[in-house]
Structure formats: structure tokens, C-alpha cells
């Protein structure tokens, strides 16, 4: 008895055990339990379908939804087609993103291309524009009045050129826009793969008389291949639940992917169907992640990070050195700047599609509300529009709170994972913090919408509250924050903490005086990442916002639905501004502290 009591008391005094238990319990409640409830709900009769399921009561067991999705006349249209669309789009945009990303990575890491040192910074610039913002810009740029119900776009207005409808809506633009959005991601993964190859391996091949091409083909690429395969899989997995871009570019054309189909089902109150789709998306994402771990498992045999700073063998581009560099920089600036210019132009015109000077206006930015406000040109400009101002405040508030919470939670989770290495608490927490990665944003939204509509245990009904947005955003951002927290905590030697314990420091003092100051770079990165992605995220919140808790991305979506193009584009530009200012301020605030390295 006393043994048990003393052992328990010891465990309760071990910080990572207590912290780990709390985090595991919280994540089990917020991630694992909802998942099981989704699974269960997909087998339970819903009130809305009682008439269609013979003899059913609310909540009684039924295979109705699974049958309707997988084996009914509806299957082709509501399941097979979206699934096929999802897979083809994901595969094609991933190939395109890989081609651009790997190409850029090779050019910057392994050739003597001019300006190559500027690429790693520049490549993140397009990242400030949300992917669906690029989709909006795409529509504004290419649409033409030859399409039923559409005004002229920028291209037609200025050159008279019209493009066929498939260029503007449907799979083609979705693939292009997603590739533009994700190539930076493949670039980062590929660049780290290329730079981790020990240059002496290539030198050895050279000494054996191999040509540069042969070295690339026989040594460099095979060594980098597992990492590149992993990059492919991870990029592909991101497409499985992608919502914003296919929502803007696909739905007007009745072109559905799994995520938009899920959204459509939720909006038409078909919860059972939506949850079957949700489970399929989660299942597909899990499979890809499993394949990824298989690939990476083999990779370890190859990865050789040599401590020696051997300069890699740089392939000379000869007279293409400067032109290639200019073209690359130009391309990156183009995809960052053109969408913004197009969006801004749209917001400065009275009539959609008429870009002539007499239609120039600042009304959508600074105009006051006019009588009869149901028309878009009578609403106040975004700086005087209470709806937009409220959503801006909500977005900023949400971004800052989520950024702070997720950065600190990520460090705490990283502390538990790194200090408990090898133990079961560490392993379970590592898996749990990663789980939200395989649950796409729109699925998260759908789950939380349904589950938190009623009180659950001690938690009151959260639907319609700002707190629900905070919770879902924090959970969704946790995988990255926990990874980054783990790697920064790993770099803090255990002895630094033990030395403080020897000086009678309690855990709170160790956290605030030793661990947080030492990992502040990681905390900062976690904050920026959490802030930026929360402010940009449409899919996560689209199902959860109410007029009072509305945030900017969801507002854009509703303006687009209402056909208020100038407002939706202006709000998108506003999001980009908030992201830029937020990042800049965070850097400014932290600069004094962070510049001094140890």
C-alpha cells in the first residue's frame, strides 16, 4: 500500500508524466473520441432519414448510409465520381508540383545558377496568399463574357482573348492552382534531401571517371529517391481533403471532389452520407501516411549527413547560368504578384468585368453604405463595413490566440515526447499529436459541427462560440507545432534541466527560466506558422462560423456565393495584408531577442 502510494507520488512529481497524461487525455477527448463517434454515427439512423429507413428509430443501427454511398443508384454520382476526381487531381497536381519543386531544389542546391541563394527566401512569398485566393484570382483573370452568367475577366478586358470554359472551371485550373500552392512544400522536402547527400559520394563517382549526368542518374537521384518518394506521398496526401480550391473552381461547374461533396452533404443535412465520405478521406490519408513511413523506413539506410562541410559538386549551367536564374526569380515573383494585382484590380472597378478608367472606384475599400444595401455597390467599403470589420477582428484574434496556444502546447508536447523517449507516454503522445494531420480540415469542421452542437459531458454546447474555432484550429495545427517543439526540445540537453533541478527549481521555474528561453526560436516559428495558417484557413471554419463569429476566409466564401466579387477579392487582399503585417510585427517584436545566437 505504502509502496503503491509512494510510487504514485513519484510519478505525479515527474513533470513529463503529469503533463503527458493531461495532453493525452485532452487529445483523446478532442481527436480520438470524435473519430469513433463519426464511425458510430455513420451506422446510426438520423432523424431526417427515418421515413426512408423502414422500422428505424433515431440512433438505431443501420447500414443505410454505407449502402447508399457504396451500392445504390446514387453511388456513381455521389461517391465514385468524387473519389475518382480526388485521386486524379491529387496525382496530377502532385506530379506538377514535384516537377517544379524538385527542379528548383536541384537548381538551387546542385548547380551554379545565378541568384540561387535568394530562392529559399523567395519561394515562401507566394505562401502568404491562401490557395483559394489564387483560385479567385485565376477566375478573375481568365473568365470571359462568352461563359453564361459571367462578366469579362482581366485577360479579356485588356487583350480581347477569350479562353474556353475548361480553362477557368473544372479539373484543369484546380490542378494548376494546387500545384502553385504546393510546389514550395515539395521544394523544401526535396532541397533537404539533396543537401543531405554527402558530396564525397559524388566525388568518389567522379574519381571513377563517371560523367556528371551519370553521377546524377546513378548516384545522386537513387540516394535522394526515398526522400523524393516521401515528398510525393506527403504532397499527394494533402490533396485528399483539399477543399477551398475545388470549392471555388469546381462547384460552379458541378465538378465535385470528396471534400466538396462532404461539404455539400453537410449543408443539405445528410450527416450520415457526409460521415461515410469523411471516413473514406481519413482512410485514404492514413494509407498514404503509412506508405510514407514504409518509404522513410528504407530511407534511413541511405541518409548520410556528414559533419564535414564538404562543398557538393556543383553542375555548371554554362551560359544558361544567368538566364535560368532570372527566369526562376521571375517565375516566383509572377505567381506571388500577379494574383494580388488581379485581385486588387477587381476591387477597384464599379462593375465586375469593366476595367475602363471611368469605372475606377475606391468604393469597395472606403465607400459608405448607401440606401438599399442588398446590392453590393450599396454596401459600405471594407473599412467601413461592420460585417467585415468584425470578421477581421475575429480573424486576427483567432490567429494570435491559436498561434500562442499552439506554439506553447507544441513545446510542452515536444518536452514530453523528447524527455520520455522510449516510454509509452512519449510514443502515444507522438502518435496522437500527429493524428490531426490525416484528418483534413473540412472533415474536422464537419465532425466538430455535429459533435459540439449539443453539450458533451462537462463541456456546454460549443457551436456558435468563438471558443470552438479556437479549439478546432489549435488541434488542427498541433501536428506541426508538436514536431517543431520536439525537435527544439531535443536540442536542449537534459543536463541543463537537471542542473536547475539540483538548484531546487520547480517545474514552472524550469519552464519559464530555462526551457522556454532556450527554445524561443521554436516557439516563434510555431506562433508564426499557427497564426498564418489559421488566418488563411477556409476549410476548417467554413462549417463552424456564425454571423457573430465569422472570420475573413468564410466571409470571402459567402461573398462569392452572393456574387459580390469585389468584396470577396478585397477581403482576400485584406487577409494577405494581415498575414504580412502579422509576420512582420512578430519578427520585429522578437528580432532583438532572436538575433543573438548562442
Amino acid at each position: 500500500m505504502i509502496r503503491w502510494f509512494n510510487s504514485a507520488r513519484h510519478a505525479l512529481r515527474t513533470p513529463y508524466v503529469v503533463l503527458g497524461a493531461i495532453l493525452i487525455a485532452a487529445l483523446a477527448y478532442l481527436v480520438v473520441m470524435p473519430f469513433w463517434e463519426v464511425l458510430a454515427t455513420s451506422f446510426q439512423a438520423q432523424r431526417t432519414d427515418l421515413r426512408r429507413i423502414p422500422g428505424a428509430e433515431v440512433g438505431s443501427f443501420t447500414l443505410y448510409y454505407w449502402e447508399r454511398m457504396l451500392n445504390s443508384p446514387l453511388t456513381e454520382r455521389s461517391f465514385v465520381q468524387p473519389l475518382w476526381n480526388t485521386l486524379t487531381i491529387s496525382a496530377l497536381y502532385t506530379i506538377l508540383a514535384m516537377a517544379i519543386g524538385v527542379g528548383l531544389a536541384w537548381l538551387t542546391a546542385r548547380t551554379d545558377m545565378a541568384f540561387r541563394r535568394a530562392i529559399p527566401d523567395l519561394i515562401l512569398v507566394p505562401y502568404v496568399i491562401p490557395s483559394w485566393g489564387i483560385a479567385l484570382a485565376w477566375i478573375t483573370l481568365f473568365r470571359s463574357d462568352t461563359m453564361p452568367g459571367h462578366p469579362a475577366g482581366v485577360l479579356q478586358a485588356f487583350t480581347g482573348i477569350t479562353v474556353p470554359t475548361w480553362v477557368v472551371f473544372g479539373p484543369f485550373p484546380i490542378i494548376i492552382v494546387l500545384a502553385i500552392n504546393y510546389f514550395a512544400f515539395t521544394y523544401l522536402l526535396a532541397a533537404s534531401a539533396f543537401s543531405s547527400i554527402d558530396a564525397s559520394m559524388e566525388d568518389a563517382g567522379r574519381l571513377h571517371g563517371a560523367s556528371r549526368w551519370r553521377i546524377l542518374r546513378r548516384i545522386t537521384l537513387p540516394i535522394a529517391l526515398p526522400a523524393l518518394g516521401s515528398a510525393f506521398i506527403l504532397t499527394f496526401s494533402q490533396g485528399l481533403g483539399t477543399f477551398g480550391v475545388p470549392a471555388f473552381l469546381g462547384m460552379p461547374d458541378r465538378y465535385f471532389v470528396l471534400a466538396t461533396s462532404l461539404f455539400f452533404n453537410i449543408n443539405t443535412n445528410r450527416i450520415g452520407d457526409a460521415f461515410v465520405l469523411a471516413l473514406f478521406i481519413i482512410g485514404l490519408a492514413s494509407i498514404t501516411i503509412y506508405i510514407n513511413t514504409l518509404i522513410l523506413g528504407r530511407r534511413r539506410q541511405f541518409t548520410t549527413i556528414s559533419g564535414k562541410g564538404v562543398r557538393p559538386l556543383l553542375t555548371s549551367l554554362g551560359r544558361w547560368r544567368v538566364p535560368m536564374g532570372v527566369a526562376t526569380i521571375g517565375f516566383l515573383l509572377l505567381i506571388a504578384v500577379v494574383p494580388l494585382i488581379v485581385l486588387v484590380m477587381q476591387t477597384l472597378t464599379w462593375r465586375v468585368g469593366n476595367f475602363s478608367l471611368e469605372h475606377f472606384t475606391f468604393h469597395f475599400w472606403f465607400g459608405r453604405e448607401m440606401v438599399g444595401a442588398q446590392f453590393q455597390d450599396r454596401l459600405a467599403g471594407i473599412f467601413y463595413n461592420p460585417e467585415i470589420m468584425r470578421a477581421s477582428w475575429n480573424s486576427i484574434r483567432l490567429g494570435v490566440i491559436v498561434g500562442l496556444v499552439v506554439a506553447l502546447l507544441g513545446q510542452l508536447a515536444g518536452y514530453v515526447i523528447s524527455r520520455g523517449r522510449g516510454g509509452w507516454i512519449s510514443r502515444i503522445l507522438e502518435q496522437l499529436t500527429f493524428l490531426p494531420f490525416v484528418i483534413p480540415s473540412v472533415v474536422f469542421g464537419a465532425i466538430y459541427l455535429t459533435l459540439f452542437a449539443q453539450p458533451r459531458g462537462p463541456i456546454p454546447a460549443l457551436y456558435g462560440t468563438f471558443a470552438l474555432l479556437v479549439v478546432v484550429s489549435v488541434v488542427k495545427r498541433l501536428p506541426f507545432a508538436a514536431r517543431s517543439g520536439t525537435s527544439s526540445m531535443m536540442q536542449v540537453s537534459g543536463e541543463l534541466e537537471e542542473a536547475a533541478r539540483m538548484h531546487r527549481a520547480g517545474f514552472v521555474r524550469i519552464l519559464t527560466r530555462i526551457l522556454f528561453p532556450l527554445t524561443r526560436n521554436g516557439i516563434f516559428v510555431g506562433f508564426i506558422f499557427g497564426f498564418v495558417n489559421t488566418v488563411k484557413d477556409l476549410a476548417l471554419v467554413i462549417l463552424l462560423v456564425t454571423p457573430l463569429t465569422n472570420v475573413l476566409p468564410a466571409l470571402t466564401y459567402s461573398y462569392t456565393e452572393r456574387g459580390f466579387r469585389q468584396y470577396s477579392d478585397a477581403v482576400t487582399v485584406l487577409i494577405v495584408i494581415i498575414v504580412l503585417v502579422g509576420t512582420f510585427l512578430a519578427r520585429r517584436v522578437s528580432r532583438t531577442d532572436f538575433s543573438r545566437g548562442f
Binding site: 505504502i2 509512494n6 537537471e498 536547475a500 533541478r501 548562442f598
Partner: protein, 361 residues
């Protein structure tokens, strides 16, 4: 008076036994050194004393206070033990200045007192001028001194040290040894010191415990560990040059016979009545030439001058015999293949059991 007492303390990591049940008592004011090759369990013992590692079973008291009891699983954490510890990596907090590092353990005291005591501690280790620097701006030796000051500032009665000098270069290490010894004398603090360096153990300690694979191989004063090793393991672990071990046999008449030599009965103390033994001689106990002492004929293999002394490698008796090392003076006129006689004072010869390796007598 016993300050630290370990009784039957054991530590397992899963199935691996890092420390077999062990008894250690450390008296007040001792410079107590745990020495042994890596993986022998010395650091684990130190960390169990500190409270950074939880023993599997046994009992541990510090100043009479029970810190761990395997029966009740009572365990007192490091923050409540009031011990001080210098880490191998120094564990200086890189984001704090020297003064902030040293002041950490004084939190809650009046500002004037903190300033005064930090200043005094830094003076004691002779780095008073560095208090505004960050650890990253200091040399290894200075960092070492800061780590020491950080522990001494709280005026602990026990100071634990985990290989504190192993990251310093050879010259600095010699200086720091002297310094640690004088700090020990000035402050009267009880020091528990872990090292893999036998010279450190011999030069500073008042008591040495040699560890081997989680067990105590010998506990003795430094001079006894050197000249009266309890077994071949200790004999070979302690000393700069390889310990000379010669297979021999005690004959029925009491004489000791080896390859090319026979020593008369009673020449070496501790010899058993009869049987196989190992004759152990330190290289520095052997000398060349005539005079008193027992004789060993050898053939020189090579002569290795090392400045202040010379190391000679030789075969016992002739080529093919056991290889011996001799540490001789700085000037030796010998050539390879030369046949010479070695002499040794019988009091410097130790006999060991040929199967257990334990010292005889």
C-alpha cells in the same frame, strides 16, 4: 561521520543491470572518487545520489535523511535533496550571463546578498571579471570555473562532480586538479567525484572506489589502489603503462618458476603452497643492471623515448616470451635484440590467482 550512505542500492534499466546491489559510505569532508571504464556504473551511482536517477532497490540516505527506500518506494526528488552537482557538459544555461547562472540557486534572497555571494564565488574560482559574459563567450576552462562557482555559491555540504575535467585539454586539466584540491581544502565540502581517468582519481581523492561492470572492484586509499591492487582488473586499470603480467608456477619446493626465470622460495610474500599464479609488476618497478632484487632475463624489442623517461618493450627470456614494459630513466643505451637482465624489488611484486585474478595475500 557518514554523510552519504548507500546500502544494497541496485539499478536496472529493463533487463540490464547497471549497478549490482552495492554498499557505499562516504564520510564528511572526504574527496570520494568513483573511477572505472565507461559503462561500469559510476555515473549511474552519482546520479542516484543526486536523485536524477531512481534506484531499483536498496536504501539511500544523505545526512541521515532517507532519500530512497526500495521497500516503501519512498523517493525524494533532486530539488529537495540540497545537493550540488557539476555536470560533465557543465550544463551552463547559454541564455544567462555568468552572474545570472551563478545566482540561479540563490533565488528569493535579498539582492545585496546575491550580488555579494556571487562575487565571492567567482573570486574563489578566479573569474571575477567575467560576470557579464555569456557562457558562449568563454573558453572551456572558464566555463568549467563558472560551473564550479554556480555550485559553490549555495555553500553546499556535498558537491557531486561528473567527469568535470574530461572536456579540458591536458595542461588545463593539471591546473584544475590542483585547484579542485585546494577548493576542497578551503571549503571542507564533501566531494563525490566520478571520472574514468585514474590519474585524476589518484591525485585528488582521499578514497578511491574502482568500479567494474556494476560492481566494486576495490575500495582503498589512492596509494593502496596503486601499489596494492586487489585484483588484476584494478592493477591493469590503474597506471599509465600496461601492467606486466607473467604466467608462473609455484613449485613443490616453494620456488616460483616462469619462462626463463626461477625465484627462490620465500622471495615473494603471499605465494601459495603450490600451483599456477600470475606475477604482476608495474613497469616503473623494473630496472636494468645488477644489484639487489629478483632477476628477469629479457630481449629488447624496441626503445621508446618519451622525454623525461623511456619506455622499453621487451620479450621475457627470448623472442616469443611474454611481452614486458619497462619504464626507465631519460637516457637508456639499449638496442633492439640486446639480451639484458631486469631487476625488481620483491616488495613491488604482487601475485594473483590465475583463475580469479584476485590478489594473493
Amino acid at each position: 561521520m557518514t554523510v552519504i550512505s548507500l546500502s544494497a542500492i541496485e539499478k536496472r534499466f529493463g533487463d540490464v543491470v547497471a549497478v549490482h546491489p552495492i554498499d557505499i559510505d562516504i564520510a564528511k569532508g572526504e574527496f570520494f572518487t568513483l573511477v572505472g571504464p565507461s559503462g561500469c556504473g559510476k555515473t549511474t551511482i552519482l546520479r542516484m545520489i543526486a536523485g536524477l536517477e531512481r534506484p531499483t532497490s536498496g536504501a539511500l540516505t544523505v545526512n541521515g535523511r532517507e532519500m530512497f527506500n526500495g521497500r516503501t518506494q519512498r523517493f525524494v526528488g533532486p530539488e529537495q535533496r540540497g545537493l550540488a552537482m557539476v555536470f560533465q557538459s557543465y550544463a551552463l544555461w547559454p541564455h544567462m550571463t555568468v552572474a545570472q547562472n551563478v545566482a540561479f540557486g540563490l533565488a528569493g534572497r535579498p539582492r545585496a546578498e546575491i550580488t555579494e555571494r556571487v562575487g565571492r564565488a567567482l573570486e574563489l574560482v578566479e573569474i571575477g571579471a567575467l560576470e557579464r559574459r555569456y557562457p558562449g563567450e568563454l573558453s572551456g576552462g572558464q566555463q568549467q570555473r563558472v560551473a564550479l562557482a554556480r555550485e559553490l555559491v549555495t555553500e553546499p555540504d556535498v558537491l557531486l562532480m561528473d567527469e568535470p575535467l574530461s572536456n579540458l585539454d591536458a595542461k588545463l586539466r593539471v591546473d584544475m586538479r590542483a585547484e579542485l584540491k585546494s577548493i576542497h581544502r578551503e571549503t571542507g565540502v564533501t566531494i563525490v567525484y566520478v571520472t574514468h581517468d585514474q590519474i585524476e582519481a589518484l591525485t585528488m581523492a582521499t578514497t578511491v572506489v574502482v568500479m567494474r561492470e556494476g560492481r566494486i572492484a576495490q575500495r582503498a586509499s589512492p596509494s593502496d589502489v596503486y601499489s596494492r591492487p586487489a585484483n588484476l582488473f584494478v592493477a591493469e586499470f590503474v597506471g599509465n603503462l600496461p601492467f606486466n603480467r607473467i604466467a608462473a608456477r609455484v613449485e613443490a619446493d616453494g620456488s616460483i618458476r616462469g619462462h626463463g626465470f626461477t625465484w627462490p622460495a620465500g622471495a615473494v610474500q603471499g605465494a601459495p603452497a603450490t600451483g599456477e599464479v600470475v606475477v604482476g609488476i608495474r613497469p616503473e618497478a623494473l630496472r636494468f643492471g645488477d644489484g639487489a632484487g629478483l632477476e628477469l632475463p629479457v630481449e629488447v624489442i624496441s626503445v621508446l623515448p618519451a622525454g623525461s623517461y623511456t619506455v622499453i618493450q621487451a620479450h621475457l627470456a627470448a623472442a616469443g616470451g611474454e611481452r614486458l614494459y619497462v619504464q626507465a630513466g631519460d637516457h637508456v643505451e639499449l638496442q633492439p635484440f640486446e639480451q639484458v637482465k631486469l631487476r625488481v624489488d620483491p616488495r613491488s611484486v604482487r601475485l594473483f590467482d590465475s583463475t580469479t585474478g584476485d590478489a594473493l595475500a
